[in-house]
């Protein structure tokens, strides 16, 4: 069910205030301006009108004209890679909206992992958003907590909470903070944000599953910068020692950390080889090629008796040319101009 925030009083930013410019919802996919001389269409992305950015009480326009129709149909039972990739594209736009509204956020590291997250939450994970504490669910520990925007959009997309609540990101008293909090946000398995914690937590969960003879799996999403932390390497040793083949570590290897290139700051390369030496079964993938992501995620565990590691080679800020590979976009609120440029690029890849 696509959730639409209140349309009352919403006017076409192109026509208003000179003309009527009322917006009408069409097929839950578009907002269409009712002014005959205009008839501009605004796509709905993840339930929110993507054209519209709230600035105080004013709606400003990020204009894209003559867009082809698209639809947000109900999720297929087993979404194809193409669907998952498109969904990830929509979620990039939603993330942009959230960052704009909040005035900032860790956008770069959200864009690098959102394709993998799309595959996980909409296809790979065995979970039930209507029953978040279902004992046999697969667990996902989002260890790179600062990249929470990518987690929030997939949780909303999977209906852990209404998409409209994504607007509460970074708002006083809102649902979604700058790092995920367990118990506060439905679907969040562990409070993260301090780096180097998620892997040991995931090991504990996988160990409990193994001892209980339960077949659910535990996925831990780490950043490559996070692998600077010693506790991550304790965890790498420990998981292999405990032979936890129900554990899957996914490293978002976007090659950048806060202030620069990981290779210049604290080199963890060759990460795949290091993990193999630590006793893990390792696959390296292009973290933006959805067929490859799905194929590898669906083939875990790679070896019996060994934890699985997926080194996802990604691009920080993926999808927006001027963010890609630029350290500044680790944590930044785009200006209005930057947002418009970013939106135009993201929209073009979806609707052209």
């Amino acid at each position: 069910m696509v959730q639409i925030p209140s349309l009352d009083g919403l006017r076409c930013p192109h026509c208003a205030p000179s003309k009527n410019g009322r917006l009408r919802l069409k097929r839950e996919t578009w907002l269409v301006c009712q002014e005959p001389s205009c008839h501009r269409k605004y796509p709905i992305c993840q339930g929110l009108p993507v054209m519209l950015v709230e600035e105080g009480e004013k709606w400003t326009n990020i204009e894209v004209v003559d867009l082809p129709p698209t639809s947000l149909q109900a999720m297929p039972a087993v979404p194809a890679p193409k669907w998952l990739a498109r969904k990830a594209g929509e979620m990039r736009i939603t993330i942009l909206q959230m960052v704009l509204r909040a005035g900032g956020g860790h956008i770069g590291g959200a864009y690098s992992i959102v394709d993998v997250m799309s595959a996980l939450y909409f296809r790979v994970l065995k979970h039930d958003p209507r029953d978040p504490t279902w004992a046999d669910r697969d667990r996902l520990v989002y260890s790179k907590g600062h990249g929470c925007l990518a987690l929030y959009v997939v949780l909303a997309g999977a209906s852990y909470f209404p998409t409209s609540r994504l607007a509460e990101f970074g708002q006083d008293g809102g649902l979604l903070g700058g790092h995920p909090e367990r118990g506060h946000i439905p679907g969040v398995e562990a409070t993260t944000g301090s780096l180097g914690h998620g892997l040991p937590l995931g090991i504990g969960m996988a160990l409990a599953a193994k001892l209980d003879g339960s077949r659910h799996r535990v996925f831990v999403v780490l950043s490559d910068g996070e692998c600077n932390e010693g506790s991550v390497w304790e965890g790498f040793m420990s998981a292999a020692q405990l032979k936890l083949d129900g554990l899957v570590a996914i490293i978002d290897s976007n090659k950048l950390e806060s202030l620069g290139r990981t290779v210049d700051i604290m080199n963890i390369e060759p990460l795949g080889e290091r993990l193999r030496a630590f006793g893990w079964s390792v696959r390296e993938i292009d973290g933006h090629r959805m067929e490859e992501i799905v194929e590898i995620l669906e083939s875990v565990p790679f070896e019996r008796g060994k934890p699985s590691a997926i080194v996802a080679h990604t691009v920080k800020g993926k999808g927006v040319s001027f963010m890609e590979g630029v350290p500044m976009w680790h944590l930044r609120g785009p200006s209005k101009d930057e947002a418009q440029k970013a939106f135009a690029e993201l929209a073009r890849s979806l609707w052209s």
Binding site: A190, L201, M205, S231
Partner: protein
């Protein structure tokens, strides 16, 4: 204390299959019965305390009741942020058991002494801090820990401590026990140094000073009522702890007295914001920091004489 804890833990593990024991390569022969009776529920996690605490929290998040055990500084200070984030912020029922409270590891030196642990763990929201004084109390806390909701820190001494508390009171987390009645002064104490407190009370008693010994085994949440009652009824309070006087039992008692409006004279005995350098056994280090029967009773005599002279 250590063996009493291990024995009680074994009993609890028989009764509750959720309980697991993780250690960071410490506890030679201490857990042999647990290892043989519960294979798979005892795991030596190696010398990697941060990972051990995280794994324990992960186990708790999956419905287990994990116990983590090793020497206090490595358990509580190396892995402090894991205790904070993984255990306390997420309010997980992990029982954190540290061995070697205070200067119990004597000759092993200041790296192995634990004189700040109570202070730092007391500062963590959701954390309960228990410092038993003898083997009997160690068993009681261990038993109560698994009926307790949320994180709990159990600070053990080492082994061979005498029984001070004959089991003549019902143990409850958060309720102080009166080990000795008295009406002229109170020694508030936690941990095996309660032995010194009792001997000081004997000595004072012989000199005609009736001294209460209040065993505040639960430093957090502290038994406010018992501390204020002691101040009101005896008029002079001394805290005794095998810990720095900064942030531990003495600080907790001071907070209670100040906020409770108690006018009683108060002194803290413990390590006076110093590390205990140099080589020596536990008693040697205790003596160097004024944790002796003579010093405790001397301080109380001084305080009472001070009160006398002001009258």
């Amino acid at each position: 204390m250590r063996d009493a804890f291990a024995a009680q833990l074994h009993d609890e593990m028989v009764a509750d299959p959720r309980i697991m024991l993780l250690t960071a390569d410490i506890g030679f022969k201490v857990f042999d019965r647990i290892v043989s009776d519960f294979p798979g529920r005892f795991i030596n996690m190696g010398v990697a305390e941060a990972n051990m605490l995280g794994v324990a929290a992960g186990l708790a998040l999956s419905g287990k009741r994990p116990v983590v055990y090793t020497i206090i500084p490595f358990l509580t200070m190396r892995a402090f942020e894991q205790i904070r984030v993984d255990v306390c912020i997420q309010k997980q029922p992990v029982t954190i058991v540290g061995v070697g409270g205070g200067v119990a590891y004597g000759t092993l030196g200041p790296t192995h002494h634990a004189i700040e642990d109570v202070a730092i763990l007391r500062a963590l929201p959701n954390m309960t801090v228990v410092v038993p004084c003898d083997p009997w109390e160690s068993r009681q806390v261990t038993r109560a820990a698994f009926r307790h909701d949320g994180p709990l820190y159990l600070r053990l001494g080492k082994n061979g401590e005498p029984t001070l508390n004959g089991g003549d009171h019902d143990f409850a987390i958060g309720r102080a026990a009166e080990l000795r009645a008295g009406h002229d002064a109170t020694i508030v104490v936690a941990g095996p140094v309660a032995k010194l407190a009792l001997e000081a009370a004997d000595r004072l008693g012989a000199a005609g000073v009736s001294t209460r010994v209040l065993d505040v085994h639960t430093v957090k949440p502290i038994d406010v009522e018992a501390v204020l009652r002691a101040a009101r009824e005896t008029g002079a309070v001394v805290s005794v702890e095998e810990h720095s006087i900064v942030g531990g039992l003495g600080s907790a008692v001071a907070e209670v007295l100040a906020e409770g409006g108690a006018a009683a004279p108060f002194r803290r005995l413990g390590l006076r914001d110093v590390y205990s350098y140099g080589v020596g056994g536990q008693d040697y280090h205790l003596r160097r920091h004024g944790l002796t029967v003579e010093a405790i009773s001397g301080v109380i005599m001084e305080m009472l004489q001070g009160q006398e002279s002001r009258r």
